[in-house]
């Protein structure tokens, strides 16, 4: 089995390096095919490992030592257990699909080869992240995906906005990574190791306050990767990257790493329910907060990005409340339908020549039948309609909130579910229904390559049927994760809740359809609604990016300039030069003591003598005074 582990892990790396070899040469299709093929290999290996793990084994290998000094010992160790294998499956499935899809999507791009190099590298990093058996290894993957995310967001590096977004994403993640790093330090100094098994065995013996801090710091790390408030702004901006990237990284895999971390570290969070509650509350808040921003946005990809954010909130609610398997399950389900949604959006973008405003589209279902179907179904899954994947995972989270008696959270999540349904179908309605507003802009949309649609189909299938695996999945992961069943005690309540939720969601969908399916004009910012305070607040993302810009970025730059020009040059350096100058100037000013005139020289000698005699006399007087 170790062989499969290594294949699963390194096949993407091989693909990446292969692509990198050609990165400077012009586009060559074989690069995409080889990379995709290797990813498929990785997927197959993961599947084999899955079946192996399902038979109750886990694979744990230690490849080699990474760092060893003092008491610190960090190996490159990989573990395939019930949790990581689920993640591996998700990652490999989605990434295989995205790879194949990208062959079509990036067809006309000059950086085709480079793209595959980055993309495969990302998958490798993600695999390291999920498969590592220690926190340091996790951190490697963690940073690795950050790097690839940077490279892929800024893939079109000639675009200012793209590179800006890339840097923003990287730096924001770094802020969180610091938290994570501190968490790791705390773990090491308190447990003496970074291996999951050792840490989790030791964690119970630590004082609660330490455990709490560990939990908090690790979660700060998770907040960055999973773009939780207040580190969320990068995710929407990250949509500057190519759409397959958004599908893979900023929807399905990387952003869920935070959730994975919390799930992975469940023995820690189990001990600190207060932190858990905070996580859940923050998750609920983000769910609503992000959904609200999605309501009015006019950028297709951003809407989906906010929805991702919102769903991540759901996952954190589950994880925070201790329902780790639920969180992981939603993660999985979400990966499928959200990737599908993004890829569909990619098709639309292609068709619309990179136009992103859904108000400029409309009626596309006629020309893009396949995409229409897929996106609609994905949206249904997202909205959580039975029997799609979203229903099983999302409803469960609502239940968890209810059962744990966190009714506020429950209410928030319920409300968010409605909003989710609304903005999802607002998008679908605007894009695929109504008048063909794109004609105003002279665009001639066309359906994407067939193979791209074929490539997307596995995701479609999974989005539809993933719910069916719920029990299998449950059986699998409870050997690692706490086995907590969430059942509303009264049958009655359960049904009321379920059906009520469904009705609420359906109502939201209907409302969205009603409002937007016959939309016929492109808003130009003059309508009353667009000028209302609420609309502006939401469309400007609560002014948070602006706030960051004004309060952090600009002052930081300003402060940096001051540090350089005022402090470094004018104070620190000037002091050094000043000392030198004072010495030199003293020389200049006193050199006339030697003015070359013999008379002055003689006088100086006498002055010297007189000074000496004065001192002698003074000393004698003093000496006699003391002596007497």
């Amino acid at each position: 089995m170790e062989l499969y582990l290594y294949v699963a892990l390194f096949a993407p790396l091989v693909g990446s390096l292969y692509a990198a070899l050609f990165s400077a040469s012009p586009k060559s299709k074989h690069v995409g095919i080889v990379a995709s093929g290797l990813l498929f290999t990785s997927f197959v290996s993961s599947a084999i490992l899955l079946s192996y793990v399902m038979s109750g084994h886990i694979v744990h290998v230690e490849m080699m030592t990474w760092m060893a000094t003092g008491d610190l010992y960090i190996p490159f160790g990989f573990v395939v257990d019930q949790v990581s294998v689920v993640m591996m499956m998700v990652v490999t499935i989605v990434s295989t699909v995205v790879h194949i899809y990208s062959i079509g999507y990036m067809d006309h791009d000059k950086g085709f080869n480079r793209f595959f190099s980055w993309l495969s590298a990302f998958v490798f990093s993600m695999m390291v992240l999920v498969m590592s058996d220690n926190f340091a290894g996790l951190f490697i993957g963690w940073e690795g995906v950050g790097l690839c995310s940077w490279g892929l967001i800024g893939f079109w590096y000639h675009k200012e906005s793209a590179t800006w977004a890339a840097n923003e994403a990287f730096i924001m993640n770094r802020i969180a990574d610091l938290g994570m790093l501190i968490g790791i330090f705390l773990l090491y100094w308190n447990t003496g190791s970074l291996q999951y098994d050792v840490v989790f065995a030791e964690i119970g013996n630590l004082p609660l306050v330490v455990t709490t801090w560990i939990g908090i710091f690790l979660f700060i790390g998770a907040m960055g990767k999973s773009a939780q408030f207040p580190l969320h702004t990068w995710l929407a901006d990250a949509m500057e990257g190519p759409t397959p990237v958004s599908a893979l990284i900023h929807a399905a895999t990387m952003v869920t790493a935070g959730v994975y971390l919390v799930v992975r570290a469940n023995p820690i969070y189990d001990l600190i329910p207060n932190v858990g509650l905070f996580i859940a509350s923050l998750g609920a808040f983000v769910a609503l907060f992000a959904a609200s921003m999605a309501l009015v946005n006019r950028d297709m990809k951003r809407i989906i990005a906010y929805s991702t954010l919102s769903q991540l909130g759901y996952m954190f609610v589950a994880a925070g409340l201790g329902a780790y398997w639920v969180a992981l399950f939603h993660l999985m389900a979400h990966a499928f339908f959200k990737a599908l949604l993004f890829l569909g959006a990619g098709n639309v973008m292609h068709a619309m020549h990179d136009e992103l405003d859904p108000f400029k589209m409309g009626g596309l279902r006629k020309v893009m039948k396949g995409t229409f179907v897929m996106m609609t179904l994905a949206s249904v899954a997202l909205a959580g309609i039975y029997p799609f994947a979203g229903f099983f995972s999302k409803d469960l989270i609502l239940e968890v909130g209810f059962v744990e008696h966190h009714y506020v959270i429950y209410t928030v999540l319920l409300l968010t579910a409605g909003l989710t349904a609304f903005y999802s179908f607002r998008l679908v309605a605007l894009i695929f229904h109504g008048e063909e507003r794109y004609k105003l802009f002279g665009i001639h949309p066309h359906e994407a390559y067939k193979f791209m649609l074929v490539a997307m189909s596995p995701l479609l299938v999974l989005a539809m049927i993933a719910g069916a695996f719920k029990m299998t999945y449950y059986q699998l992961v409870i050997s690692v994760l706490p086995d907590t069943q969430y059942h509303v005690h009264s049958e009655m309540t359960y049904w009321i809740m379920t059906i009520g939720t469904q009705l609420f969601v359906i109502a939201a969908i209907v409302y969205a359809y009603k409002k937007y399916s016959n939309w016929n004009s492109v808003p130009d910012g003059t309508s009353a609604m667009e000028n209302s305070f609420g609309y502006k607040l939401l469309s400007n993302q609560y002014y948070i990016p602006k706030f960051y810009e004004e309060v952090f970025s600009k002052p930081y730059l300003e402060l940096s300039r001051i540090a350089w020009k005022q402090i470094d040059l004018k104070i620190v350096d000037a002091t050094v030069d000043g000392i030198a100058n004072v010495i030199y100037k003293t020389g200049e000013n006193t050199r006339d003591i030697q003015n070359g005139n013999l008379s002055t020289m003689l006088r100086w000698m006498v002055v010297g003598l007189v000074v000496l005699i004065t001192l002698a006399l003074a000393f004698t007087v003093g000496y006699n005074a003391v002596g007497a």
């Binding site: 006339d592 070359g596 006498v606």
Partner: protein
């Protein structure tokens, strides 16, 4: 009114100070050399006096050698002055200022 050694020492000091004033005051090099002679002479008085009061000959020896030194200095000093004068036609030390700083 006994004359003690201190009297001689004070006298010597006064003469020495006169010499110092001369050294500092004179710009004419020849006259400046006069002042240096006064310095040495002032010391000689004191040496002779000390020699007398403690009854030791070393002081007189010292004074003797000081006289010899003074004489030698005159020779060299005048020699230098002569070349200087031949070159510049002046023996005023204010004219001697080609080097400074």
């Amino acid at each position: 009114m006994e004359v003690t050694l201190n009297h001689y020492l004070v006298l010597s000091t006064i003469l020495f100070a006169i010499g110092l004033v001369g050294v500092m005051r004179r710009k004419n090099l020849l006259m400046l050399f006069f002042a240096t002679e006064i310095l040495l002479n002032a010391t000689n008085i004191a040496f002779a006096a000390i020699s007398h009061y403690i009854g030791d000959l070393s002081g007189q020896m010292f004074a003797f050698f000081i006289i010899a030194i003074a004489a030698s200095e005159v020779a060299i000093g005048l020699g230098l002055l002569i070349v200087w004068f031949k070159r510049t036609g002046k023996i005023d030390l204010d004219q001697m200022n080609s080097m400074r700083g």
